[in-house]
């Protein structure tokens, strides 16, 4: 799915501390900057500035956590999918999210942080995941809207990350983007089916889902550029390529047109085409709500984290048993 790490970490991480650095270190950093400027990819074992490494660990791990926690709102509907076809599709999608989480954890681990450390950070609440997954999935239409809007926003965010300067992350993103396209399309198609062949009640259900997910989807792009202090450094390093506001606008312009095809409206009275800008103008986002959800007080924060921790703890004996079995087998083989 997607990460807001770049922005939400800003407060904690701050800017690189101005420590005394040796001539060698300055030279290494200059060489690193030159590689970035030349569009070179950085590999796991290449020298990199400490702040670059830390920024990436945060961003990639938060991205991974988002994929994993993102399974929960959708998992909620697997047993209640309306048909076997929709159930198979939803299962495949949720399995993809697990896979995306694993690609990303592996990429984060190349930076020298262990999987257990990454999990610890999530389970202890130290690490964040995308704010969007702290909203409840109340109806079947939410599955379609998540595919259309949430995955749509994620794709818009993720495509530029395929050119991220850190190669293991970029490679994971290429794989993820290739798979994510199905997520968005199945969501739209599911909604289109309900809107064109459904009952009035089903139309209303879709519209209600759009009403609930529209604003949280716009928040997925993170705070406005004016309040995104880490962006400049991340742009410099080729970790971030396009600004939050620019991506958000792109998303609005694309989805408003798609909504017309569906026959739904966005819950924003100020939404209108601006011929001068050649973009849609839209109303102001409730940033207070955004920071509240990021800060742990969204509708489902506690529930999501508790479910994740429980799954991890309940699975402990399985992980231990698998290791014990593997050890026994290797002793047997050695004998």
């Amino acid at each position: 799915m997607y990460t807001q790490a770049m922005d939400t970490m800003a407060k904690e991480a701050g800017v690189a501390k101005p420590t005394l650095r040796s001539a060698e270190e300055l030279a290494a950093e200059a060489a690193f900057d030159a590689r970035i400027d030349a569009g070179d990819f950085i590999e796991a074992k290449d020298w990199m500035p400490e702040h670059y490494r830390r920024t990436l660990v945060r961003q990639i791990s938060q991205h991974a956590h988002s994929e994993i926690v993102g399974m929960l709102p959708e998992g909620n509907w697997i047993t209640r999918a309306p048909t076997l076809k929709r159930k198979a599709i939803l299962l495949a999608k949720v399995q993809d999210e697990a896979g995306h989480g694993l690609y990303l954890y592996a990429a984060a681990e190349t930076l020298g942080t262990s999987r257990d450390q990454l999990f610890d950070a999530l389970h202890s609440g130290k690490a964040k995941y995308s704010s969007i997954f702290n909203y409840p999935t109340l109806s079947w239409a939410d599955m379609g809207v998540i595919g259309w809007l949430v995955d749509g926003a994620a794709i818009m965010n993720q495509v530029p990350l395929c050119r991220c300067s850190y190669a293991p992350y970029a490679r994971a993103m290429v794989r993820i983007c290739r798979e994510e396209s199905f997520h968005q399309r199945q969501g739209f198609e599911s909604l289109l089916t309900m809107m064109t062949r459904g009952t009035d009640a089903q139309h209303a259900m879709v519209q209600d889902a759009v009403n609930r997910w529209w604003w949280p989807s716009l928040m997925m792009f993170g705070p406005p550029d004016s309040e995104s202090p880490n962006s400049e450094q991340s742009m410099r390093w080729g970790i971030k390529r396009i600004s939050n506001d620019e991506l958000r606008q792109k998303f609005v312009d694309a989805t408003v047109e798609q909504a017309k095809l569906l026959g739904v409206t966005m819950p924003d009275p100020e939404l209108r085409w601006n011929a001068e800008r050649e973009h849609y103008d839209f109303g102001s986002i409730d940033w207070q709500e955004f920071w509240q959800v990021v800060g742990g007080d969204g509708p489902c924060n506690r529930e999501r984290l508790a479910a994740k921790v429980k799954a991890w703890e309940d699975g402990a004996w399985v992980r231990d048993a698998a290791l014990a079995h593997a050890r026994k087998q290797s002793i047997k083989e050695a004998a």
Binding site: E24, A92, A106, G112, T113, S114, Q117, P168, Q329
Partner: protein, 127 residues
């Protein structure tokens, strides 16, 4: 020895010479208790018969059999492969990125190893 990328003991260059020889940015206490973490494996997938196996990523698994099964689920959900290799990440020996220049650059000036180095008469252009 250093292995390609990732691995509980990999990440920042530890085995390989660090250009600064100083802090590698490894969080303190890392690796202190690795006994409960499944080992890391590198996954290689053959996309279709006739092609070679290509590295596609890594994963944690308790043993070889599980590594193959998980590799199938993680890396070939859409028929991306017809064959999988897995190998423990700590068993891979890799060249040292710090010596990339001295190791690979000597080949740079040996242009005579390429067919385009030789200018032949037009009539023989496709030799």
């Amino acid at each position: 020895m250093s292995h390609p990328e990732s691995g509980p003991s990999a990440g920042p260059p530890q085995a390989g010479p660090h250009p600064l020889g100083g802090s590698t940015g490894v969080p303190a206490g890392r690796g202190a208790d690795m006994s409960h973490e499944w080992p890391l494996w590198e996954v290689f997938v053959r996309a279709k018969s006739g092609l070679d196996h290509k590295h596609c990523g890594s994963l944690h698994a308790a043993d070889p059999k599980m590594a193959i099964q998980l590799a199938r689920d993680v890396y070939t959900r859409r028929q991306e492969g017809t064959s999988i290799w897995v190998v423990r990440s700590d068993q891979i020996v890799a060249s040292d990125p710090g010596e990339k220049g001295s190791y690979f650059d000597p080949m740079e000036d040996k242009v005579y190893r390429h067919p385009t180095f030789y200018e032949l008469p037009k009539s023989l252009d496709h030799m």
